[in-house]
């Protein structure tokens, strides 16, 4: 089980860093978060990574599904899925393998941004607690976006469609919290409860809330489960 998952993850990870899109996405992410970090630090003269977290989380909304749109749509289009699905591997191993590879890529992207806090430490005396929890938070929401993206990638053989569907789901889950204000008290609570954006800011302030952890992990589990089911149903289509 673990062996097959790692074999698939290893292949995907190599594909990520053997092809331009991952570099492009990483580059865009670094430019945007670098600007956000620099601008916030200079304007407010703070030694926090709030600028990076705010800009980074927002642009991950768009970059997450871009990282994962390839995973199944391309296999479907190229027909390689036929060989993969007739190999003695379980659907869950295929899904987890591909998901791990995308998580690995996300980690690489975040690892490069570690020079932001190092810069802070060079020029000032930052509070490391919120920085650590902030990184945990941005990794978790990234992981959520990737699980949604991988699900949408199983729905179609067209990467663009996979991307659009993936970002649509992500955007709804993000902005539904903003709609809570106009939705009235009862519905508003539900909206806030299911919105990703209501759980994220606390991480930046150094708070790791159990509710938030459970929320993120459940969303990931739900979408990975849906991915496996979607893969199963494609055999019957």
């Amino acid at each position: 089980m673990v062996r097959n998952t790692l074999a698939i993850a290893g292949r995907e990870f190599r594909v990520y860093f053997g092809s331009p899109p991952a570099y492009l996405i990483t580059a865009v992410f670094l430019v945007i978060t670098g600007y956000g970090f620099g601008w916030t630090s200079v304007t407010y003269m703070e030694t926090t990574i709030q600028g990076f977290l705010g800009w980074g989380s927002f642009f991950l909304l768009f970059l997450g599904p871009a990282l994962t749109m390839r995973l199944f749509a391309e296999e479907e289009k190229m027909g390689t899925i036929e060989l993969l699905m007739t190999s003695p591997v379980r659907d869950i191993e295929v899904v987890l393998g591909k998901y791990l590879a995308s998580l690995g890529t996300l980690l690489m992207m975040l690892a490069i941004t570690l020079y932001y806090p190092l810069l802070l430490a060079w020029f000032g005396d930052p509070d490391w607690g919120p920085i650590a929890s902030g990184y945990l938070g941005i990794f978790l929401i990234g992981a959520v976006f990737l699980s949604i993206g991988i699900f949408s990638s199983t729905l179609t053989s067209n990467q663009i469609v996979a991307y659009v569907v993936g970002s649509a789901i992500v955007l709804v889950l993000w902005f539904i919290g903003q709609a809570a204000g106009v939705a009235g008290d009862k519905v508003g609570v539900v909206f806030r409860y299911i919105s990703i954006s209501s759980y994220f800011p606390a991480f930046g302030r150094g708070i790791i809330d159990t509710n938030a952890l459970i929320y993120f992990l459940s969303i990931i589990a739900v979408f990975l489960f849906l991915t496996i089911r979607s893969l199963e149903t494609r055999r019957w289509r």
């Binding site: 097959n4 053997g18 027909g79 390689t80 060989l83 003695p88 055999r235």
Partner: protein, 311 residues
Amino acid sequence: MIEAENLTKYYGTFLAIDDVSFEVGKGEIVGFLGPNGAGKTTTMRILSGFMPPTSGTARVAGHDIHSQSLEARKCIGYLPETVPIYKDMTVEGFLRFYGKIRGMDKRRRESRIQEVMQLCRIEGYARTYIHKLSKGYRQLVGVSQAILHEPDVLILDEPTIGIDPRQVVQIRQLIKDLGQEHTVIISTHILAEVSMICERIMIMDHGKIMAVDSAENLSQRLKGAQKIEIEVKGPAESIASRLRDVKGVFEVTIEGSGDQRKFAVECAPGEDIRDELASAVVESGFSLLGLKSYEMSVEDIFLKLTNREEN
């Protein structure tokens, strides 16, 4: 080795295969022959575990393809029609990946990779990225992937399509050799190919198996007429009319142009009238340049069988 029972598959309302049953024994090479859309690929996809049948069942090496799918898949080497190989990997990397997910341990995997690359004569491209390879070489990579883990059963869907003649010969020989130890099913619509490689032929059309037999028996069974080709120098029309007068000749058709023509003579089966034909030509004062007799080919049988269904 392979037992298929009443396999039926609907795509929506379209009936792709209809109540197909057959058995393939160990070490046998069986060819699926049929026009496009006959249900060959569908049958192979069901056997390989890529998709389930609407009804019916099949066992591969004793494992039910549905309830013991993983075990069945372990015993199969499969080359789908589209040659699905990751273009962004090297030949060696691709084979290594498939060795890994088929559970081969490292030592066996590495030695088998070298072996199959030599067998398919692609060892010179071990570190070449697959997107740089021509279609023929990709097909060979596909074949080497299928035999990598020494499966009991090989399912090859159109293994020689779209590649150059030299490689076709190479792949056919390879399949023949593999048939010594493995059970092989290949599909093709190239008729010469099945009669060359396969011990048994299954002719499929409209989702049904129309006939199952060896190539020789099939042509024996369906022998309707015999064909003789004669090459004669002289005026075409008078030669043709002279040939028509020979006893046992059904029909003469003139092929080609100029004063050196070929004539296709169809005659009753079982009798050898080459003698009479030759004398007729020579006695009339024309020069006989060539004479050749043809058996009904698998091709003719195939066309007969598949046309009969439409009529």
